[in-house]
């Protein structure tokens, strides 16, 4: 392993990348009101510093033979046969994530300075953001599944705190609880997978697990793969655990951009990509990953077409795009690089789109109903242009980011060959068409047409601290795909992790795929213009709609199914247990106490206070004893 080379230079202090934001969070949370005035600047500073350090580390890593560095820090747990040491693994995969998290994270911190300027809880907000960045970095930089798990739970906690940031709103508090609980379902899967690794292999470090996973029985590896997938589904909002992600939009918009679009929800993709050696051993689990990705991709796209809430449309778009990434990593070696590339470009354009949506909401007094927007292109020129570039990148407009990375995934799916390749490729192409439809609908309803604003609203462009990050992300949305696919191919950079990329089979010529996908996208855009753009948008949603639209508006009944299958049986079970506890357990305990108390108070009646009755008792007793003695001695 080249990772065993001595670690020198900046890589030996790579832990600072995690510690800087963590220290920022600690100062802000412990410092209290004293830090109110400069806390947000400190928080932004720590993330920017972490980004600079991350860039330096990555540059050093690219010069290093083997492109991997394992930094041992300290012993985390040593007990009996379990020996977990805390350490960092910096390799091309984690470096890519480190750059994405700190880079996009820093931009969103800058944006938040403007967005949260008038919020009384600004310091708390920045503390949580820093905490999140630190946890996410630990998640991707840890060198063992245990370290990943610690980060995994950390981002879950930070996500909970940030969704419920406006905790006086019942909707926000409920959404946070929902997100936390649904994440927990996934976390149980991840925890069980780690337990299984420890029970079967005695180690949880990546090196140890990947080295020995081939020796395990097929069923065990499949179980580990499926449990890891369950964890990934929970964190990434994939089917069947997708329902929490749209509700998480109750949090402040920078949170939606950072956590629920660019970083945390991609942790599932990271987990599966990182566990590539496990999935290499189990085609079954890999097929399930594919199925989950394909199903989620369609669900997200279909539901996204029906919502009127701008942030929820973007959230379902995120669900759908992460479905693409799952599809890609589920394809195996041919898809890993494509999936990670899409993850990076998605990080740019989706963060940009969310920040744009935040800017629109900022201008419209926190209105999120697109039926109340319209005609904003002139009033918010910077937002319009940056949002528009993100939109074009997302729908896969030729030669922008999404075009390169989404096409790569579709090509990889088609290259799978056979009927499954055609089905997956078809689903991905259909998803691209739907994406074009709902995003065009969003653009038309928000920026074009007549103004349908709530009376009294006068939209104004956001301050520079908000628009500057949007411009940077828009540039990224335009250029990142071309850079990652053509100029600095990500596939080559990731080679040390995923191995030599397999020679593409090219069932369908890439040029043909590009043309077909672009044509489907154009159809989607045209359809959106026919349905939305050329007529007046009513300010209330039409009630008489087809069953398909009704189903999509209700998120394809995901909540209904969850309630029927999980919530109600759960409530029944709880009620039955409470009844059993009250009547059964409490009944036995209280019954015993009541029986003793009752009998003692009845026996107490014998204490009459009359001395002569006591004397009679004594006599009777003495006679009994004497009688017994006589009986015993004569017998």
């Amino acid at each position: 392993m080249p990772a065993s080379l001595p670690v020198d230079g900046l890589l030996s202090v790579a832990w600072l990348v995690i510690v800087l934001p963590l220290a920022g969070a600690a100062v802000l949370l412990l410092g209290g009101r004293r830090t109110d005035r400069w806390g947000h600047l400190l928080a932004t500073g720590t993330v920017v510093a972490a980004f600079v350090l991350a860039v330096a580390c990555t540059l050093q890593l690219s010069d290093r033979p083997g492109h991997a560095a394992s930094v041992d820090l300290f012993t985390f747990i040593r007990t009996g046969g379990l020996d977990v040491s805390a350490g960092l693994l910096i390799d091309p995969l984690s470096a890519v994530f480190m750059l994405l998290i700190t880079g996009v994270g820093a931009l969103i911190h800058v944006y938040s300075i403007g967005y949260m300027a008038h919020d009384p809880g600004r310091r708390r907000f920045f503390a949580y953001l820093n905490l999140f960045v630190a946890a996410m970095l630990l998640l991707v930089l840890g060198n063992s599944y245990v370290a990943l798990y610690v980060g995994w739970e950390g981002v879950g906690l930070a996500s909970y705190l940030l969704i419920a940031f406006w905790y006086t709103r019942p909707a926000a508090a409920t959404a946070a609880k929902k997100a936390f609980l649904m994440n927990r379902v996934g976390d149980v899967g991840l925890a069980l997978a780690i337990f299984l690794m420890f029970a079967q292999l005695g180690t949880t470090s990546y090196a140890g697990v990947f080295g020995e996973v081939g020796l395990l029985a097929g069923g065990t590896v499949t179980a580990i793969g499926l449990l890891l997938l369950l964890g990934a589904c929970g964190k990434s909002g994939q089917f069947p655990l997708q329902a929490w992600l749209p509700d998480a939009m109750e949090g402040p918009t920078p949170v939606s951009a950072l956590i629920h679009a660019a970083t945390m929800v991609t942790a599932g993709v990271y987990l599966i990509a990182r566990s590539a050696p496990v999935y290499d051993e189990t085609p079954t689990a890999r097929t399930v990953v594919l199925a989950v990705g394909a199903v989620t991709l369609l669900i997200g796209a279909v539901v996204g077409c029906a919502y009127d809430d701008i942030k929820k449309v973007l959230a379902y778009s995120t669900v759908s795009q992460i479905g693409y990434m799952f599809l890609a990593v589920g394809l195996g070696p041919v898809g890993y690089a494509a999936g990670i590339a899409h993850l990076l470009t998605h990080g740019f354009f989706k963060a940009g789109l969310f920040l744009g949506a935040g800017s629109v909401m900022h201008a419209m007094d926190d209105q999120v109903d697109m039926r109340r927007f319209g005609g904003l292109a002139k009033r918010l020129p910077v937002t319009f242009v940056t949002f528009g570039l993100g939109y074009l990148a997302l729908i896969g407009f030729p030669f922008l980011s999404g075009y390169w990375t989404k096409d790569a995934i579709i090509e990889a799916a088609l290259d799978r060959g056979g009927w499954s390749g055609w089905v997956l490729g078809g689903v991905a192409v259909l998803g691209a068409g739907l994406t074009a439809f709902y995003m065009t609908r969003l653009m038309l309803m928000t920026f074009f047409g007549k103004a349908r604003w709530t009376p009294g609203v006068s939209p104004h462009e956001s301050p520079p601290t908000m628009t500057a990050p949007m411009v940077v992300l828009a540039v990224g949305s335009v250029a990142a795909g071309f850079l990652l696919v053509q100029v600095f191919p990500l596939a080559e950079w990731l080679e040390p992790v995923f191995g030599e990329p397999a020679e593409a089979a090219h069932v369908v010529a890439p040029a043909v795929v590009g043309v077909v996908v672009t044509a489907v996208m154009a159809v989607g855009v045209l359809a959106a213009w026919l349905f939305v753009g050329r007529r007046e948008v009513p300010t209330t949603a039409p009630a008489r709609v087809s069953p398909v639209v009704t189903a999509a508006r209700r998120a394809l009944y995901a909540d209904t199914v969850n309630e029927a299958l999980v919530m109600r049986p759960g409530i029944w079970l709880t009620r039955a247990l409470v009844w059993l506890d009250n009547r059964g357990v409490d009944g036995v305990v209280n019954g015993a106490a009541a029986a003793l108390g009752g009998s003692s108070s009845r026996l107490g009646r014998a204490q009459t206070g009359f001395v002569r009755s006591y004397a009679l008792g004594m006599l009777g007793g003495a006679v009994l004893v004497a009688g017994a003695l006589v009986a015993v001695t004569t017998a």
């Binding site: 108070s601 204490q607 009459t608 206070g609 009359f610 001395v611 002569r612 009679l616």
Partner: protein, 99 residues
């Protein structure tokens, strides 16, 4: 002369004493009935001592007399103080200590 007569006498005395303790209300009379029971027991002890030709029983009877004397002192004192506070020597009037 067999010991049976003595034992029967002792039994009669004991029964009289026991019945007296149970049926009489006056504390002094109850007290005297207890003395009667003690003395019936003394009679039994001396009878058996005489019959077996040892002095063990007589010694125990002497002890009983001493203990009985001490008990009378304490008991009479209690009866006196109860009489002073409650103006009654009936054992049925002293029934505060109950459930």
């Amino acid at each position: 002369m067999t010991i049976t007569n003595y034992l029967v006498l002792a039994a009669i005395l004991f029964t009289i004493g026991a019945v007296g303790v149970l049926v009489r209300r006056n504390a002094i009379v109850v007290f005297m009935c207890i003395e009667l029971m003690l003395n019936s027991v003394n009679l039994t002890l001396i009878t058996f001592a005489r019959a077996s030709g040892t002095v063990d029983g007589q010694v125990i009877a002497l002890f009983v007399m001493v203990v009985a004397a001490a008990e009378v002192v304490v008991g009479l004192a209690i009866i006196m103080s109860i009489y002073r506070t409650r103006r009654s020597a009936s054992v049925d009037d002293v029934n505060l200590l109950k459930y």
